[in-house]
């Protein structure tokens, strides 16, 4: 079965620290990759997406992600986090018509 793994369930960082959230998926074929963010009490919003081309993808709010096909990975990064980045982050992989989500990583940024 297709699966998506997010390595850390909880991450706590101080403001200005760098962030990297890991994401690995199980399928070796062509996939579309996404990172979504859910701020407290809100619905999911798209941070960034990868369909093809440059494996380094830039998204909103200073986030970026790198697709490494050989490692089946799509890690999310941000050089300097802010308190407002406190949220839950979900990696998702599209297999055909279906989107499979990782379990999510709760990020808390201390001010």
């Amino acid at each position: 079965a297709q699966s998506v793994s997010q390595h850390n369930h909880h991450v706590i960082l101080s403001e200005a620290a760098s962030l990297e959230l890991g994401c690995n998926y199980s399928y070796g074929g062509t996939v579309n990759l996404f990172w979504y963010v859910q701020y407290p009490g809100q619905h999911l919003q798209l941070l960034l997406k990868y369909f093809s081309g440059d494996p380094l993808v830039k998204g909103i709010k200073g986030f970026e992600a790198e697709f490494i096909k050989s490692k089946f990975s799509f890690n999310l990064r941000k050089p300097s986090v802010q308190w407002s980045d406190t949220a839950e982050y979900f990696c998702a992989v599209q297999y055909g018509n279906k989107l499979v989500f990782g379990a999510g990583t709760i990020l808390r940024v201390k001010s």
Binding site: V4, H43, L44, L46, F51, F90, F101, G102, A103
Partner: protein, 113 residues
């Protein structure tokens, strides 16, 4: 542009009752989806629809029924609610074609007592 809306936003019901969660989108997107969100599981797909009158099961379909008589609506029915169906339910939609993301509704928090 209302986008995608869900109703009700909060619902408390009792075991054994039938509950219907509504989802409406104004974009005329072909695809619509229902997910449930539970701590430690992320979002799991319940059912999806590729077009009006075309639906298919997702990862966790048991205990749920869907219909799609109109492109813009995709109701989810719990025929006989159980406590294990206490969750937050998200509806999503996306246009047809392989290079489009899903857009999510605000969610419905359902509690089954």
């Amino acid at each position: 542009d209302a986008g995608i809306t869900q109703s009700p936003r909060y619902k408390i019901t009792e075991t054994g009752r039938q509950v219907t969660l509504m989802c409406h989108q104004t974009w005329s997107h072909s695809y619509m989806f229902w997910y449930r969100q539970d701590l430690g599981h992320g979002l799991r797909l319940i059912y999806y629809s590729a077009a009006a009158d075309i639906t298919d099961k997702g990862e966790v379909p048991d205990g749920y029924v869907v219909s799609r008589s109109k492109t813009e609506n995709f109701p989810l029915t719990l025929e006989s609610a159980t406590r294990s169906q206490t969750s937050v339910y998200f509806c999503a939609s996306r246009p047809s074609g392989p290079y489009n993301e899903q857009f999510f509704g605000p969610g419905t928090r359902l509690t089954v007592l």
